[in-house]
């Protein structure tokens, strides 16, 4: 049994980590930390856990943390995971960060898009980008895993195979993403009140969302050249789920079937990636609560454009589930352990 600690347990990502790790046969959740809720019992913070009154959220220093656990999951605002990472690595423990602190190779990019200076640029070399379908081998041996953002997970899984195959061209790619509101977190804001979100769809952070450089960095790494994305996220009235609709110039003669064949080949052995048949499109509801990604594609010969579609649950494959997948890789457990669920429908 691996002893696990979660820092940032009072957010939605934290709750999802608790749900998934509590039922994981090889994990034992030992420490739950959340600054503002320290001292409360778990069900006082999250009502799905009534019956677990004995589990409490605490405030613990990074040092205390690494003493008690083998691996830390951090789900914290930008900048705050750094002391935990430092303590973990010094103590020979592992850390899987679900925030942005270790996703960038260059501190400068992080600083430009996140607006704060990076407290430990030396750790960026150490960190591995935790998207198993693209970096599986590196994750297996990593001490510090930077779990990807929810949007990049969907977009990169859809874009990398046809770009590598030359079926789509890297100029002028547009990413129109739709996300449920849980991605905005549990801090109360007018913008995420039910009465404001219901019957509402809207764009936000148009062309300036922080996941843009994250996606571009990985594309550069995987393709060996610069790819620029016009990225516009939208909020849709639902709790969970991301659908990314990606528009890219189509290489001459490429058909829908060609695109789908590339996906099928690329993800043949992947347990979590489901490639849909022609004419069927991903839906967020189909992957709700699961670690699955659904992919679809259409080649629009009339306009010379590929339409690529990816759906996932932003709190599972887009956050906590992927972190558990990385945990499994890291400890040599079967990759699907604790993540066997299909989507819950309806």
């Amino acid at each position: 049994m691996v002893r696990v600690g979660i820092v940032g347990a009072s957010g939605y990502t934290g709750a999802e980590l608790i749900r998934l790790l509590r039922r994981h046969p090889e994990a034992r959740v030992c420490l739950l930390a959340a600054r503002t809720h320290a001292g409360k019992s778990l069900p006082e913070v999250f009502p799905q856990f009534w019956g677990l009154e004995d589990e409490r959220l605490i405030a613990a220093s990074p040092e205390e943390f690494v003493r008690e656990v083998d691996v830390l999951f951090t789900a914290l605002p930008a900048g705050e995971a750094i002391p935990y990472a430092r303590a973990a690595l010094e103590a020979g423990k592992k850390l899987i960060d679900l925030g942005a602190d270790f996703r960038f190779r260059e501190a400068g990019v992080y600083e430009r898009w996140y607006g704060i200076s990076h407290g430990a640029p030396e750790l960026l070399r150490e960190a591995v980008y935790g998207l198993p379908e693209l970096y599986r081998d590196q994750i297996k041996t990593a001490r510090l895993v930077a779990n990807p953002g929810c949007y990049p997970t969907a977009v990169l899984l859809a874009l990398v195979p046809p770009l590598k195959a030359g079926q789509i061209l890297p100029e002028g790619i547009v990413v129109d993403a739709k996300s449920g509101v849980s991605g905005a977190g549990r801090q109360p804001k007018i913008e995420t009140l039910y009465a404001e979100v219901n019957e509402n769809v809207q764009a936000y952070n148009v062309a300036v969302h922080r996941h843009t450089p994250e996606m571009e960095q990985i594309l550069r790494d995987k393709l060996g050249k610069e790819v620029r994305l016009t990225f516009v996220p939208h909020l849709v009235p639902q709790t969970r789920g991301i659908l990314a609709t990606i528009y890219a110039p189509l290489a001459p003669g490429v058909t829908t079937e060609d695109l789908l064949a590339t996906y099928r080949e690329y993800y043949r052995e992947e347990p979590f990636v489901k490639v849909l048949p022609a004419g069927v499109y991903p839906r967020t509801k189909s992957v709700w609560g699961s670690n699955l990604v659904q992919l679809g594609a259409v080649a629009d010969g009339r306009t010379g454009r590929a339409v690529l579609l990816a759906a996932l649950d932003n709190l599972v494959k887009g956050a906590a589930g992927q972190a558990v997948q990385n945990f499994n890789l890291s400890y040599g457990f079967p990759e699907t352990m604790g993540l066997e669920d299909s989507g819950i429908y309806p």
Copy 2:
């Protein structure tokens, strides 16, 4: 491994049975039947199952069915489970029916409320009411289990303990229940279209819902006297979840704490029943996707009335999850096997 068949696999209850039984370590789902969708692959009917294109829905006679499986789960319209039950019992197999065909002791009550004659009244003696918290021992040895309706599960778990304890009186009990729309099934109807349900709450089947005699029968059995319920179900704009709010005359001097203490005592060993502390009330979201029931209570001394509250997921504890719980009891598996999940929140 127990070989399992599901008849009525294309409805929402069927889909939930598939989800739960596929991950159950001791069940192997062998046959899926659904008349109108026979011949289709499973994902063509339910999009959460893409990747399982090889699993197909078939049309099979009861006889074929019982040849191939050890236990049948039937989720069918009224009257249609009877030939399956007969075939199963004749072949020495077990059957867990999620419909209403075997819930009543007397065929006459069934016939009056369901408007059809009962094709096999002799089976009613054989059948055990599948509410484990009330009939656990009988379920263990039953060949034919009648899984309760979604509303009765919530209402009976809330009503029986304080009624038996004499903390509430059996005259003039009112049950106001609120249900998500998945309970109405997957048959397309104007009433359950998104555009009709969103921003809508409404009562239906006021004082004539078919779950009324089912609840009254069990109360009579457990209390040894007649209890009449004014039962009004409502549709609320959500997919899953039932909240039952029950109003009953309070015995003199009974406090909130007394009511909660009775629940805690009665359900002390129950893995799926969570009694909330005073001042905290059940929410459907807290049990979403799980087999849990949350119970709460308030004694309103000012008006001499107890307010009892029960929340569950109508497709899990209210249907498929409870059926799996009965399956576990029936085969001597740990009662929570395959049902360990907490609610998925948010």
Copy 3:
């Protein structure tokens, strides 16, 4: 043209007042005040008003206010309407308060349920309860109108006629009400976030909601005797709408048709009250955005109980629309002026 001012313009009730009064042919909205948003343009606070950048929210003293307008609408937290009322009456202006400050005859009841002392008990004698269907004549000449709470409007319209007719008995009445979340206001709270409300129904303030004494006071006034209500409000996942389901002991022999006939007779001339036929039940969606109330009833002879149902839009007939109806009465305009809309469906 009557010059109108709105104090508390940045809440949901305030926004609805602006919407209704801006299109009212006899009202000119002159002043909008909102403390925390003072200085902002109207569309910066409410995005439905882009195009009206010139209208600004201000902070104004009660004295300034009454100088500029003929009538004030106040939609403020408990206690805060009192200085406006005092200034208005001193200056010979009118005030329609949408809060609770003037709803009670006795300051002691207000103080007990609202937990603050009442700053101007002498005004309580002056105030008229602004439920036109019950107090029309008094409203016509009132200087100070106390607009009812959203729940009391629904409950009183359903309860008063059959109680007065003796068709139901006043002992043991239960009110189970379901409300959309806009009633909880626009202050950000975890409880009203989309991700917490969606797929959730829950009771709150069980048997201790502040609208209880308000309803009981009016029943006492109308019936000449004490009536105690067990009142349990619930939050349902929708923005607008209240459905009240009321359970009362039925007088012997009373039928569904009797109850409906009483409603039809009582509300024969009422433009906003719609009595549904037997077998049809009110829905919140049917009155969405309108000043209408739908009423329905069932006599359950089997259990000796009447089920009374009332649906309204909590922001219109439950708040701003009713305030405009009172405004019309107060100035002798046709009662439906500016309130002609049917429900918006779907």
Copy 4:
């Protein structure tokens, strides 16, 4: 008073026409027709109209219709408006069609995309495309108005000004549109059940939606050259509202402010088009229930792409409201008559 008839009164567009025309000071709704519901009272079909039991839906021949009314509104499946149009024009009456039968200049395009032959190609010359902001003068004198589709209204209002101004280039334009589910109509289908739509966002008719040639035809007409659109509509879990996000190559040097200035200039006198300031984006909720369109724009210099945003209510400005706007133009009434409402929020 203009005598008005509505054919296809039992769909959502029909209901919205009834709502808007009933409160229009110059319209008198005389005839309501709906084949499948003929003989029913209006509230039996739409519950927001209880109180109007005397209004009935009838089945009437085109000839009867044109005898009784001055203008017909037809909201019918493809092909079915043609006999009404013929009868209306022969009798010297007007017709405003909300379907697709008269939107195309060439019958061949209609036949290719709608899959049926056009029964009256000679009427296509007569018909005027009913988008007032682009064809106001022609609408004023038209006898036959082809009300635009909901998506084209949003997309064309956003695309035409910057295309005409040369601020965006016509090659490689992508339209990603999100629509509430009321656009799919009231016919019961599994796809539009609440339990299927809630928590779901999905693309449909990818690159083959019938509104594509409609938009391309108008762009050709307005710009004098061929423009091809990659158009992907999506269903989002809400009842009403369309948000169109449009991506187009940006002409060199064009800024966000340039794009917005073009909108402001182009729509300076338009009562229903609201151009938002830089940094503010349209939301469907802001225009809910109103005839307004909100427009926004961002010039993404980093990728050389303009992002144009348009939001409207698909049943109002996208259908019934725009039809009333055309009606007003046609009879010389003030263009905003009966359409004065702001969005209803929340």
